[in-house]
């Protein structure tokens, strides 16, 4: 069946079986690789995206549920050439080892910062409670989300014309 998805501000028509989890469509049909397959069980967070501004596990989100809603992936935060504040912060703090979990971390972080621009350490820990990292990059991930909060604060302080680009 054909389903319309709104991903990173663009509308896409995808032809897929209705029970296909959103993750497979993002990765294979829309060529958006950032969200990762980690468990397919909603246990590890590697597949995290934002749906309507909230962190969501795309490996257990059926396509039909995602239809008509605003989906944001890491690709919607910026590009390698023009990274957004969360991406800049992860690069600046060198917050990856293998990096496989990092896209999910960034999306959980993005959803947190959207609603809580100045999170405490405990807020960050709570927002990342469903995200697993095996390399032990946790300290740097938390530091990057704090740094992203600062960068977004600086961006918000800029004249309005420049600050429209949000991290999600």
């Amino acid at each position: 069946m054909t389903i319309t998805l709104n991903v990173n501000g663009k509308s896409h028509q995808v032809d897929a079986e209705a029970d296909t989890p959103l993750l497979y469509v993002l990765r294979n049909d829309l060529d958006l690789h950032a969200a990762k397959y980690g468990c397919g069980l909603g246990q590890c967070g590697a597949c995290t995206v934002m749906i309507d501004g909230k962190a969501a596990l795309s490996c257990v989100t059926p396509l039909l549920v995602a239809q008509g809603r605003e989906i944001t992936t890491v690709e919607g935060l910026g590009t390698a050439e023009n990274p957004g504040p969360i991406q800049k912060a992860f690069i600046e703090k060198q917050s990856a080892q293998c990096g496989y979990c990092i896209a999910g971390m960034m999306m959980s972080g993005a959803a947190l910062l959207k609603h809580n621009p100045k999170p405490s350490d405990d807020d960050i820990r709570a927002a990342l409670r469903t995200n697993l990292c095996r390399c032990g990059t946790h300290m740097r991930i938390m530091a990057a989300i704090k740094r992203a909060s600062e960068l977004m604060g600086q961006q918000a302080a800029l004249p309005a014309a420049e600050s429209n680009r949000s991290a999600g």
């Binding site: 989890p21 397959y37 069980l41 992860f90 990096g99 990342l128 946790h138 300290m139």
Partner: protein
Amino acid sequence: MDTFDKPDNTDIENSASEHSGPELTRRGLLMGTGALVVSFSTANAFAQTPAPAPAAPAAAPAKPPALPGSLDTDRYLDSWIRIDAQSKITVFTGKAELGQGIRTPLMQVAAEELYVDPKDIELITADTGRTPDEGFTAGSQSMQNSGTAIRNAAAQVRDLLIAQAATQWNLPADQLKVEKKRVIAPDGRSMGYGEVVVGQFLHVEAQPKSKLKTPDQFSVIGRDVQRVDIPGKVTGGVAYIQDLKMDGMVHARVVRPPSYSATLKNLDDTAIRKMPGVIEVVRDGNFLAVVTEKEYQAVKAMHALQLAAQWDEPAKLLDNANLSAELIGLETEVGTVAEAGTPAFPNGPTYEATFSRPYIMHGSIGPSCGIAVMKADGSLDVWSHTQGVFPDRDAIAQMLALPKPKVRVIHMEGSGCYGHNGADDAAADAALIATKVPGRPVRVQWMREQEHTWEPFGPGMVTKIKASVGADGMIDNWTYDLWSNSHGTRPGDAGSLLAGRHKSNPTPLKLPKININPNGNGDRNAIPLYAIPNQKILWHYVNQMPIRVSALRGLGAQPNVFSIESTMDELAMAAKTDPVEFRLKHMKDKRGYDVIKLAAEKFGWGKGTPARDHGVGFAFARYKNHAAYLAIAVELKVEPDTGRVRVIRCVSAIDSGQAVNPDGIRNQTEGGILQSLSWTLYEAVQFDKTRITSADWSSYPILRFASVPDTVEVHIIDRPGTPFLGTGEAAQGPTSAAIANAIRNATGKRITDLPLSRERVKTAIGA
């Protein structure tokens, strides 16, 4: 490093990395008919004659001189460095990016000696079709082996470029300089590197000595160069094998037997073949797989195939509740790891204990993936996140009865592996399936439960220590017995691959033999680095492997250091000495002494008393007793009601020799500390007599953000001009022991069985 690794190169490297060596001077540089003969004069008399002299026919071939790092096995400079006519520099390494960030420091060492920016270098990693064979990317040896080779090759290439330009300009080489990929004469004339390099110019054998830059000349080594792989990884680039797409690619899922020894009894796959998108149902002995056009179709077909397959399952696993006795009961032979003096325990304070570690999972966040295509000419290309493209190639070729040159294995990064996980098996799965659908690239993605239940685990181990302290407060006697499988069942042989064992005409796993060598295996770090006059260390070898095992970060070092360093604290108490002071008194290695001092100082060891229910603990090890030194102090809190342990802060000091990328060392060490914390507090593979039952993250819990410490500090002692010692595995053992010692400090109870779980702590404190 495990038993299948290449011999350790530390000694070679020591001699090759001297910076005070003689100047490499040009003596003859002859351009002939397409052949180039290069010779150097060095004070160490490694000079060759300018013209090649044929060896006397009767003379035995002289053993070639040892070359630095992996140059010793791939001896031509152009195996490592090539420069094209446009001065584009390509560096080749047989090592692989596993998430440890190795690409960046390898580019740094090459850039340093070539006087270029790391960005000017393209790095090609492990590929049987293109790069040197450097065995496995394992044992924290990439900088030692590959870094040393590349650095020396780069220095020699640079000097060849200078020598060649000097010949053309008829100028003394020492008047020339290099800058921005150009050789420059004092009068301003210059030639690009690419203009100097013609034809086979770099196809020359490397020399034993290189004119390496001295630390005061460094502009790239020792700098926190940002990792080259991170921008792609945080912006959704094609960063992992899981992200690769190829024209005509099909998706496959394997259906593994429900347990190690299960055999297929019955299967009717008629309905599965009719499912949407199904191209093929592969049945080859006990090997089952589905191949479909779209990925999720493969998942659904896999589930249907799982339901359709009926298996015979024998109950052959160990009794996990009684693991230590089970392992000891499986002992097949005893090997002596070390022996000195005559340990005897007449009187005086003696400590005796049995320690254990359960089977531990690598637990990669991304399940393994492999891609393979069988081409029209009968050759097979395989993409894999294996740690060893060459051994994996050999194993796959054997499994498929193909000549090795017909199989090419190309490394592509996967999720962090921390040792031998499912990577090689997924590559073999893809290779076997590709032979059934020739012409189409086959992508096999393992499911979470497959990675959890089929990866080779870090072996369970048991250790027994008896040790005593003399009247002088010094350890006088020490006996140590350890029970362990080999920690190495890596490829090389088809029997190491699940597909090789499951297909028809299977190749059984070759059980490794006991192998005691300086790198250690199950016995890695079994010898305390402390001065102990009487000691005896034995490896009670367990030949059978009822649970699938192989190399996990650190091999035996984690359980051995956990045991040794727990005992050191008990002996310090018996000697009524502060545990840090006690270690220092027994440490004769200056660099070991220095990291212990620094970690203690930065932690504020001995200053103040821990708060109520808090404890502090300390531990140290030199990885493999010849690699990186690491000491760590931790502070933690034990919740008396629940037994829950929360590590609050960790302060470590590490000496990895010459630090190439300090932030890379910090990143790896922070990761090692947190991963070891997770192993130590939470992890144990669960199984019943038939099946592995830790099949997902709820049945195999690991560290979560709620339990991450407040701070983790890594202090580096840089040793400019000394050999690279590697970093990746140094923290695994000391972290475990420091946590155990801190729990002892907080509660007064010594827990000797890993993990130091909430239940065990609660039981120990009688809460």
